[in-house]
C-alpha cells in the first residue's frame, strides 16, 4: 500500500511535468501506459486500427489536458485509464450507431459477455475478484465496462427494471472495491 502511494506520487509528478509541456515526461508516461491503453482499446474494439486511433487520441488528450488533472480526484493511473476507457466507449458507441444495429441483435447474452470478458482477463487478482461477485452483478459490470453499454441499454436488453441494474452495478462495484481494497490505493486527498 505504501509502495502504491509512492508510485502514485511519482506518476502525479510526471503528469505535472507533462502539463508544463516537457516532452521527456510525456515520453516516459507513454512508455508506462502505452501498452495498457492500447490493450484496453483493443479488448473493447477488437480492431487493431480502431484501437490504434483511440490510443493516439488518448495520449493527445493527456498532453493537452494534463493541466486539468486534479490529484485529489484520483491517481494519474486511474485518470489515464478512465480516459482510455471513455474514448473506447465512445468509439464502440459510434460504431454501433453507424451500423444501426438493433439493440436486441447487437447485444449478446450478458452472461456470454461476462464469461468472455472474465476468461480473457490476464490478471488473476481481478479475475478472482469478479468471480466472487454473484453472476448478475458480474454480468451488469462486464456489459457496462467491457461491452460499453449504458445501464439503460442493459436494462432494456435483459428486460430487467433499470433500478435493479443500478443496484447490481453499485453492489458489484462496492464488492470489488472491498475485495481489491488492499491494492486499490484509496488515499484521502
Amino acid at each position: 500500500m505504501a509502495g502504491m502511494r509512492g508510485e502514485d506520487q511519482a506518476e502525479e509528478r510526471l503528469l505535472v511535468r507533462v502539463a508544463r509541456a516537457e516532452m521527456s515526461a510525456f515520453e516516459e508516461l507513454y512508455d508506462r501506459y502505452g501498452r495498457s491503453v492500447y490493450s484496453l482499446a483493443m479488448t473493447m474494439l477488437r480492431d487493431a486500427e480502431a484501437a490504434r486511433e483511440v490510443a493516439q487520441e488518448v495520449f493527445l488528450d493527456v498532453w493537452r489536458t494534463a493541466r486539468a488533472f486534479d490529484p485529489t480526484r484520483g491517481s494519474a493511473r486511474s485518470w489515464i485509464l478512465s480516459l482510455a476507457h471513455h474514448k473506447s466507449v465512445d468509439a464502440v458507441r459510434r460504431r454501433r450507431l453507424r451500423a444501426v444495429e438493433p439493440l436486441s441483435e447487437a447485444l449478446p447474452s450478458g452472461q456470454d459477455v461476462a464469461a468472455e470478458a472474465t476468461t480473457a482477463l490476464a490478471r488473476g487478482r481481478v479475475r478472482e475478484a469478479l468471480a466472487a461477485l454473484n453472476p448478475e452483478q458480474r454480468e451488469a459490470i462486464a456489459l457496462a465496462y467491457y461491452g460499453g453499454y449504458t445501464q439503460r441499454e442493459i436494462a432494456e436488453r435483459l428486460k430487467i427494471p433499470l433500478g435493479t441494474i443500478k443496484t447490481r452495478m453499485r453492489d458489484g462495484m462496492i464488492r470489488l472495491r472491498d475485495i481489491l481494497g488492499a491494492d486499490v490505493a484509496v488515499g484521502e486527498p
Binding site: 502539463a19 510525456f26 507513454y30 484496453l40 493537452r64 485509464l81 482477463l121 465496462y145 452495478m169
Partner: protein
C-alpha cells in the same frame, strides 16, 4: 435529481455506463458536492483495475512515434511575425454559411481580446459594431440564455436570439487553457460539429464571442480545448463544457 440519486449514479458513471445527459448532471453535481468526489475516486480506481486486467496486446510499431510527432510543438503566432490570413480561412471551416461581415466581427472581437490573429484586420469601427451588437443582444427580451456546464468550474453562458440569428458566447470565468492551446466553440446539430471560433479567456474581464447563424439548425453548443492559434477542423478532445440550445 437529489444528492442521493446522483450518488447512486456514481458506480455507473465510473463505468462510463450513463447516457451523456446523465453523465453531465453527475459532473455538475461533482463540482459542488463535498462527499461524492471522494467516492468517485475509489470507484475510478476499481474501474482502472478492470481496465488494466485485460489481456495485453502489443501496440503497433509506429504508434509511439506517431503520438510523439502529433504533440511536437509547432510555431505559434506571437513567436513569429503575424501570419497574413484571409478572413474567410481564419476561423471558419469551408461550407459554413456565414456572411463575411460576421466572420470579420469574430476576428475583430478576438483581436480585441488579445488573441494573436492578424491585428491589421482589426478596424475600430467594426470592433465597436460587433461589441454593440453583442451588448444589444444581452439585453434583448427575445434573447435566450443557456448556461454551459461540464467538467471544469466555469461561468460561461451562451446568449442568442433564435429568430434574429445572432448570438454571443459570454465567458465570465474560465481558466487558462494552457500553453499553445485555445478554447474552440462548436455548434452541434448534424453529423459534424461546426466551429464557431476560438478564444482565450482574459483574467478579470468577460470575453464575448459574437456568432451569427441559423440557430434552429443546432441543438447544442460545446467548448473543447484545441491547439493554438487556429483550433481544429473537428474537435480533437472531449468537450469540457456544453449546453443545449
Amino acid at each position: 435529481m437529489t444528492h442521493q440519486e446522483l450518488r447512486d449514479l456514481l458506480p455507473a458513471y465510473a463505468l462510463d455506463a450513463l447516457a451523456p445527459e446523465e453523465a453531465r448532471e453527475v459532473e455538475v453535481h461533482l463540482a459542488t458536492c463535498e462527499t461524492c468526489p471522494g467516492e468517485l475516486r475509489t470507484l475510478r480506481q476499481v474501474a482502472a483495475e478492470l481496465g488494466e486486467a485485460v489481456t495485453e496486446s502489443t501496440p503497433p510499431a509506429g504508434l509511439r512515434a506517431a503520438v510523439l510527432e502529433a504533440i511536437r510543438p509547432q510555431p505559434v503566432a506571437g513567436a513569429e511575425p503575424p501570419v497574413r490570413l484571409g478572413r474567410r480561412q481564419l476561423l471558419f471551416p469551408r461550407g459554413w454559411a456565414v456572411g463575411l461581415a460576421a466572420a470579420a466581427a469574430v476576428v475583430v472581437a478576438l483581436a480585441g481580446m488579445g488573441i494573436s490573429v492578424n491585428r491589421r484586420l482589426s478596424d475600430l469601427q467594426e470592433r465597436l459594431a460587433a461589441q454593440e451588437a453583442a451588448l444589444a443582444l444581452l439585453t434583448s427580451p427575445a434573447a435566450k440564455t443557456t448556461v454551459l456546464a461540464g467538467t471544469v468550474p466555469a461561468n460561461v453562458r451562451f446568449v442568442y436570439d433564435p429568430a434574429g440569428g445572432r448570438g454571443a458566447l459570454v465567458v465570465a470565468d474560465l481558466r487558462d487553457p494552457g500553453v499553445n492551446l485555445v478554447y474552440q466553440l462548436w455548434l452541434i446539430g448534424g453529423e459534424e460539429p461546426v466551429s464557431a471560433g476560438v478564444f482565450r479567456p482574459v483574467s478579470g474581464r468577460p470575453v464575448i464571442v459574437p456568432i451569427a447563424t441559423e440557430f434552429q439548425r443546432y441543438r447544442a453548443v460545446a467548448i473543447s480545448v484545441e491547439r493554438a492559434p487556429r483550433g481544429a477542423r473537428q474537435p480533437t478532445t472531449t468537450p469540457i463544457l456544453s449546453g443545449a440550445i
